[in-house]
């Protein structure tokens, strides 16, 4: 099968998930992604380099499981940009690349002498995509961030919570994932624009701006109606207000920290749910129609919780699926990866062979293309794994030169 993006080369300074996730998408569709790492600190500008989780008791800079997960399909070279020679090598690489991308704090590329103006001088139609928490302009542009800070600032932490509780937020860096999605979109949009016009550009992606677009109509409710989301009874993240649904929530079930999500979209769903539950409260007039259920939702949830608590989540799921009510067990990682057959059948967890880790499963992509599907065979690169290949085959150095670069601390 052909690759969609095989004609593009990405000079990739990204790290952690927020940047690496973007170039992982491109690599899956055949782009030649060349990761650049610092040999002096063993690539640790990506804090996941050489960090847990591990497959076994071995430890080492090439054995970090998360790093491998986010960097499959990419080549990796080392460049000690403190040396003149490494900067020359980088210039050669930029000259044959379509995209230069990074997710450093503001100013790092400039300090190395590779800001946008310099990149453009090397390659006039270069696409440069930077991704940082607050962008390169504005009062907070010098501030530092990581996923949870982006989520806090943008309102995503606040809206993910229950009434009268502190913010629950996201139990992971949702905006590292999602920042990576917008980062990938930025690269693809800029490539589409260049294809049409021949023009490159610098896209200054601010991850908090992207996050602030994810509130649905809440911000229009603010600008049009003056209604804030910080108000009595809110947030109430497991309920649904647009459109209103009741019951709608995550309910306890038998088992060890087991839960089940149930949603009644309309009167038909409610009546189907009542057919299954068939307890007296289902016939209580205070739950008879949608407006009354919304008005009595706390009481409704108490009754439904008492019913769900006496059954397992999978038993409830089976009963309500048969009845045609939207339902899902809250799946634990092992359940969705190895028990629910649908993810495996979709091919969601491809296995790559890492030179040191061995065979290991990674996150795939949740899509399939009929003509140019994604694929990952290559593992995340070991430190400097492709120095020889990239410098000789792509950049025209001899093996002897590469060996001497290695000796001189350039690579």
């Amino acid at each position: 099968m052909a690759d969609a993006l095989s004609s593009f080369r990405i000079c990739d300074f990204t790290g952690i998930l927020a940047g690496a996730g973007a170039t992982k998408w491109l690599a899956g569709f055949g782009a030649e992604v060349i990761r650049i790492e610092d040999p002096v600190n063993e690539g640790r500008w990506d804090i996941l380099r050489g960090r847990q989780p591990w497959v076994d008791e071995r430890r080492g800079i090439n054995l970090g499981g998360a790093f491998n997960n986010h960097n499959v399909g990419k080549l990796g070279i080392t460049l000690n940009l403190r040396t003149e020679k490494a900067r020359e090598i980088l210039e050669r690489l930029v000259a044959v690349s379509d995209v230069v991308t990074e997710n450093f704090s503001k100013g790092v590329m400039e300090r190395w002498g590779f800001g946008y103006e310099r990149l453009k001088a090397i390659k006039p139609d270069i696409i440069y995509v930077s991704n940082c928490g607050f962008g390169h302009t504005g009062p907070y542009s010098e501030f530092k961030s990581f996923g949870p800070v982006v989520q806090a600032i943008s309102g995503l932490t606040f809206t993910s919570g229950l009434p009268d509780q502190p913010p629950a937020g996201w139990g992971y860096s949702y905006m590292d994932h999602t920042g990576a999605y917008y980062h990938a979109m930025a690269i693809l949009l800029a490539l589409i624009h260049r294809h049409r016009t021949g023009e490159g550009q610098w896209v200054d992606l601010s991850c908090t701006d992207a996050a602030l677009t994810l509130h649905g109509p809440a911000l229009l409710d603010w600008t049009v109606n003056g209604r804030p989301t910080r108000r009595e009874g809110r947030p109430h993240a497991n309920r649904n207000f647009w459109p209103p649904m009741a019951p709608h929530g995550i309910y306890p079930s038998q088992g060890d920290d087991d839960w089940v999500a149930i949603a009644c979209r309309n009167q038909d769903d409610w009546e189907r749910l009542c057919d299954v539950v068939d307890e007296d409260w289902c016939r209580d007039p205070q739950f008879a129609d949608a407006p009354s259920r919304h008005a009595s939702q706390d009481g409704l949830d108490e009754h439904l919780s008492a019913w769900t608590a006496e059954r397992t989540k999978f038993a409830i799921q089976a009963l309500l699926r048969d009845a045609g009510v939207p339902v899902s067990a809250v799946l634990k990682p092992g359940e969705r990866i190895d028990v629910d057959p649908s993810t495996g059948a979709f091919g969601l967890w491809p296995t790559v062979t890492h030179p040191e880790i061995g065979e290991i499963r990674v996150d795939g992509q949740p899509v399939h293309f009929s003509e140019t599907d994604w694929h990952y065979e290559r593992s995340g690169p070991c430190l400097g794994e492709h120095n020889e290949q990239v410098l000789t085959e792509l950049l025209g150095f001899t093996s002897e030169e590469v060996a001497s670069f290695q000796e001189e601390g350039v690579l």
Binding site: G138, V150, A168, Y181, R196, A210, L220, A345, Q365
Partner: protein, 425 residues
Amino acid sequence: MTGAIGNSRPRPGALQGVRVVELARDPIAFAGKLLGDMGADVILVEPPGGDPARRYPPFADDEPGEDRSLYWWHYHTSKRGVVIDLDDEAGRDRFRALIATADVLLEAEPRQRLETLGIDYDDLQSIRSDLVHVAVTPYGRADPKSDLPFTDLTLMAAGGPPWSCGYDDHSLPPVRGPLQGFHIACHFAVMSTLTALLHRAISGTGQFIDVSMTAAGNVTTEGASYNWLIARNTVQRQTGRHASVNPSVETQQLCADGRYANTGVGPRQAKGFAALDKWLKELGLFAELPEAVFLELGAQHEGPLDISKIGEDDEITAIFGASRAALRLIASKLSAQEFFVGCQRAGLTAGAVNAPEEAFEDEHFKSHGFQVPVFHEDLGRDVVYPGAPIRLPECPWAISRRAPKLGEHDDEVFAELALQVDGGR
């Protein structure tokens, strides 16, 4: 296109000249908006009577009405709207004529509906051989589970995100980030569309793209998935911070104004402890915190402090303990905003836990032009919308028009089709 509605675009968007046909369904509305705001000519196809989301709250000025749903306004910017009855043969002919002019079909129809109607990818290819057809379903087109009824909440529960989100107290339920089940799927639908369009621009070839909404959730769970894939470990949810195999320290601070701020684990290196020590002294709070002396110790420490040694190594435990106590004390004296800015100025990574509207009114985002007025000629006023997720200077994001009224562009679009059909397509 008609002018005067929406705002003007200083330069063509990245997707200028790309026509997207979107079959109106809630789960993909955001994908269509993203493509439209990036410059595509998105034609939203609704059934007679309109898409149910037209009637979702909240409503403008809290007055329910057909064209007053803010939900509709938000998710359908930069689209033109037409009514086509796909259950009727004449309607399907119109749809085929529209597809003949389209680059992308974006749909989240029930799994077998288009095939049954004779307008699935295989049929449409004979009309438009290089069509990019993006189909979004709960479990993918091949999985019968896609036929089950679903909502954003049930998709999220099945996909994995809620397992990781919630509170230290596990008697409280896991929490879903509202709307994000659909948003995650839409992000993948858009990335797929752009990838396929780029491929088509080079090769001339279109294709069919199968997007699974639950799979999209599954690969948007960070450590929950890879801790299982790599080490068969299950992360446990914790209040306001990463779900983790082993419990970690709290990262949210309650501030003097009753709002929270997130500091992460706080400083880990000498420089950070020194900065915190200095800030504490500047605020005149050093004397209030007896253990602050350990900050001075941390400030003299060489190399990063190993956070995994908390509880094992007395000195490291004391230093991190003092750091958390100092942050907690400072937070108790300042508003969340003051605390956030103060932390950042001291070189400590932190963020105020804003409500969405608080972020929206912040000068930082305003300076990016994030508040975007869109003229609603029917109301005779501007409405301020959230702005660009990505600012592309050479091919800018823009809201080109407000959301369409039902059938608003029937005449315009069908007239264009007639011209183009007559023109020999």
